[in-house]
Amino acid sequence: MIVPLEHILILAGLLFFLGMGGLLAWRANLIMMLVCIEVMLNAVMLVFVAGSARWGTADGQLFAIFIMALTSAEVSLALAMVVYLHRRRKTVDTDLFSEMKG
């Protein structure tokens, strides 16, 4: 393996926390939040792929593909909900959607 596993893990960690920071920072916009979640998921996928390469097994790659399928489903569903919410309230600011408080 040309690139050491640690480097990949560091990159993945950076990506994950960038995504998380973005998630918290852009919480006024649902679309940007979805983008950030994608970034975090990609960081996780990267870890799976790296692990698969490091130990020479296919499980990690399998999971990465699984995640891709899951994400595409999730994004399409989420975007549909965003459109619906925007249609209802003319906004995508999450702070204004608090009806489900328990």
């Binding site: 998380m20 998630l23 918290l24 919480r27 999450t94 702070d95 959607f97 608090s98 009806e99 489900m100 408080k101 328990g102």
Partner: protein, 628 residues
């Protein structure tokens, strides 16, 4: 005898229940007739019982309280003492009921009035006829309750309701002592039967007899308004006047004397108890007589004179002159009821004026009241040859027979009190009935029944002496012979005839001196001057007017500290301490609970921060695990 005794008790009870439950539904005349009829019916039964009386009889009607060895059946005991008291109570109360019909003719609450009056008679008769102490206590508390309810009869006025409560609470102090004595006597002898207890005197240690005697004395002092529990009686005049006559003169207040006389075979064996009883009576008689000299309220004069006269009876019991005490109890019931009913007539005629300085000159205008009232006054003052003269003399004779420095001092006190009694009695008579008219309105009309009831009482008061003429006249007195066989009553040493005659001469002189003093001050030319001076009020007179400031003393000693303690417990202990701690705990919990409530705002951002914080926690944990 069985039937008579049952009827004596049941008739007033049924009358009371009738008026309490149905009285308002049926016409007023029916209620009045029932109320008076049952008392006279009880009187007739008492007369029949008296005719058929052959000796003390104990009648048991059924079981009342029974548990293990404790037995307190509904048992009545009719002996000479309870028989004579029953006759007196039913007769005097019967007259007072008749009088009430006139007195209460304009009062809308007559049903409550007659119901309470009848229940009072029932309770009083239970007290007198009871064979065991719990039953006696039942009657004792019954008269206490009826007295409370009747003193505060016109309860819409704060003053009357307060007087009722005062009487109830003050007598309750004595009742507690009496209750303790009952329990103790049961614990000592395993029985609460009065006749049985009275045979126990010799078997019980002297110290315990003394203590029980003092407890009974405290109970009697509460009910009979003796020092130091006398403060309730003057205020009890807030009730209707017939109530004052029935309860606070003729019957209830003598219950203490009856109790002491009844239990005398037990407690009389202790010299300390007898001295304490005699001292209480003597000092109370003197105290109340001084207070009565300066009162302005007609009913308060009579109230203080009642306290004073009962003091005489208690003194008589203390001196062992039980017959004398009973004799005075009977004559006092007649003449004091008479005086109160007469006072009620005067007050009604003067449109509820009670201040004697606003009266005057009623002798001709209210002649039908004046003559009976004068008869009562003569008896109260111990005017020679009236009932009060002989009965008071019998008590003082008993004191003479005891001898010794204590009883000698009490005799002098008693004689001085007799002088005061005569003075204040005639002060009252002269100020109210003599002189010129001291009020603007002319006397109003009186119902005939109110003045008619005075006549038999006046006759009984004046001729009461015939009940028990002194022994030096050559034959045994009626009461002496009748009561002599009761344990404790007989075998009392009589003073020598010469002493008794001397005593009667002294007493007669004192009575006439008091009459003369009052005559010189309150009639003729000096009347206006004396009245003006007394109305202005002097420090000494104010001291006596306020009853030696006994009420203020209680305020300082008992009521104020109690109020302060109660306020402290309420404000500082309960509200600040207990409630404050609990409130603080509750507030703290609520605030703690409010902290995580901010997290459940429902906003997505909050959840996100929670997610991030969770990730950080997991990371920190992993780092910690890795490094350590």
């Amino acid at each position: 005898m069985h039937l008579y005794l049952a009827l004596i008790l049941l008739l007033p009870l049924l009358g009371g229940l009738y008026n309490a439950l149905l009285g308002r539904l049926l016409p007023r005349r029916v209620g009045e007739a029932v109320a008076c009829g049952v008392i006279w019916g009880a009187f007739c039964c008492a007369v029949l019982a008296c005719v058929g009386f052959t000796g003390p009889v104990r009648v048991e009607f059924g079981s009342w309280l029974a548990a293990f060895t404790f037995q307190a059946p509904i048992a009545l005991y009719l002996d000479q003492l309870s028989l004579s008291l029953t006759l007196m109570i039913t007769f005097v109360c019967g007259l007072i009921h008749l009088y009430s019909v006139g007195y209460m003719q304009d009062d809308p609450a007559w049903a409550r009035y007659f119901a309470l009056l009848n229940l009072f008679v029932f309770a009083m008769l239970t007290l007198v006829l009871a064979e065991n102490l719990p039953l006696l206590y039942l009657g004792w508390e019954g008269v206490g309750f009826c007295s409370y309810a009747l003193i505060g009869f016109w309860y819409t006025e704060e003053k009357n309701a307060t007087a009722g409560r005062k009487a109830f609470i003050t007598t309750r102090i004595g009742d507690t002592a009496f209750g303790i004595a009952i329990v103790w006597m049961y614990q000592l002898s395993g029985s609460v039967s009065i006749t049985h207890l009275n045979t126990m005197g010799a078997l019980v240690p002297a110290a315990i007899v003394t203590t029980i005697g003092l407890l009974l004395l405290a109970g009697a002092a509460g009910k009979s308004a003796q020092l130091p529990l006398s403060v309730w009686l003057p205020d009890a005049m807030a009730g209707p006047t017939p109530v004052s006559a029935q309860i606070h003169a003729a019957t209830m207040v003598t219950a203490g004397v009856y109790l002491l006389a009844r239990m005398f075979p037990l407690i009389g064996s202790s010299d300390t108890v007898r001295a304490a009883i005699a001292l209480t009576g003597g000092i109370t008689a003197f105290y109340a007589a001084t207070c009565a000299c300066c009162q302005r309220d007609l009913k308060r004069i009579l109230a203080y004179s009642t306290i004073s006269q009962i003091g005489y009876m208690v003194l008589g019991v203390g001196a062992g002159a039980l017959t004398g005490a009973t004799f005075h109890l009977l004559t006092h019931a007649f003449f004091k009821a008479l005086l109160f009913l007469g006072a009620g007539c005067v007050i009604t005629a003067l449109h509820h004026q009670q201040d004697i300085f606003r009266m005057g000159g009623l002798r001709t205008k209210l002649a039908a009241v004046y003559w009976p009232f004068l008869a009562g006054a003569l008896c109260l003052a111990g005017f020679p040859l009236t009932g009060g003269f002989f009965s008071k003399d019998a008590i003082l004779g008993g004191v003479v027979a005891q001898g010794g420095p204590l009883y000698g001092g009490l005799l002098l006190l008693g004689l001085f009190t007799a002088l005061l009694t005569s003075f204040y009695t005639f002060r009252m008579v002269f100020v109210v009935f003599h002189g010129e008219q001291g009020h603007s309105l002319p006397p109003g009309p009186l119902p005939l029944i109110m003045t008619l009831t005075l006549v038999p009482l006046a006759l009984l008061g004046l001729c009461g002496g015939l009940l028990n003429l002194p022994a030096y006249l050559g034959y045994q007195g009626l009461l002496d012979g009748f009561l002599g066989s009761i344990p404790g009553f007989g075998g009392v040493e009589q003073p020598p005839h010469a002493d008794e005659i001397a005593l009667q001469i002294v007493a007669a002189t004192l009575s006439l001196t008091g009459l003369g003093l009052a005559w010189s001050r309150y009639t003729g030319s000096r009347r206006a001057e004396t009245l003006a001076r007394e109305e202005a009020g002097q420090p000494g007179a104010r001291f006596l007017l306020n009853g030696w400031y006994l009420d203020s003393l209680y305020w300082v000693l008992v009521i104020n500290p109690f109020n302060h303690l109660a306020r402290f417990l309420w404000k500082r202990w309960d509200e600040a301490g207990i409630d404050g701690t609990l409130d603080g705990l509750a507030r703290l919990t609520a605030r703690l609970g409010g902290l995580p409530a901010a997290w459940s705002s429902g906003r997505v951002a909050t959840s996100l921060f929670g997610l991030a914080a969770g990730v950080c926690v997991v990371l920190v944990y992993l780092v910690w695990v890795t490094l350590s």
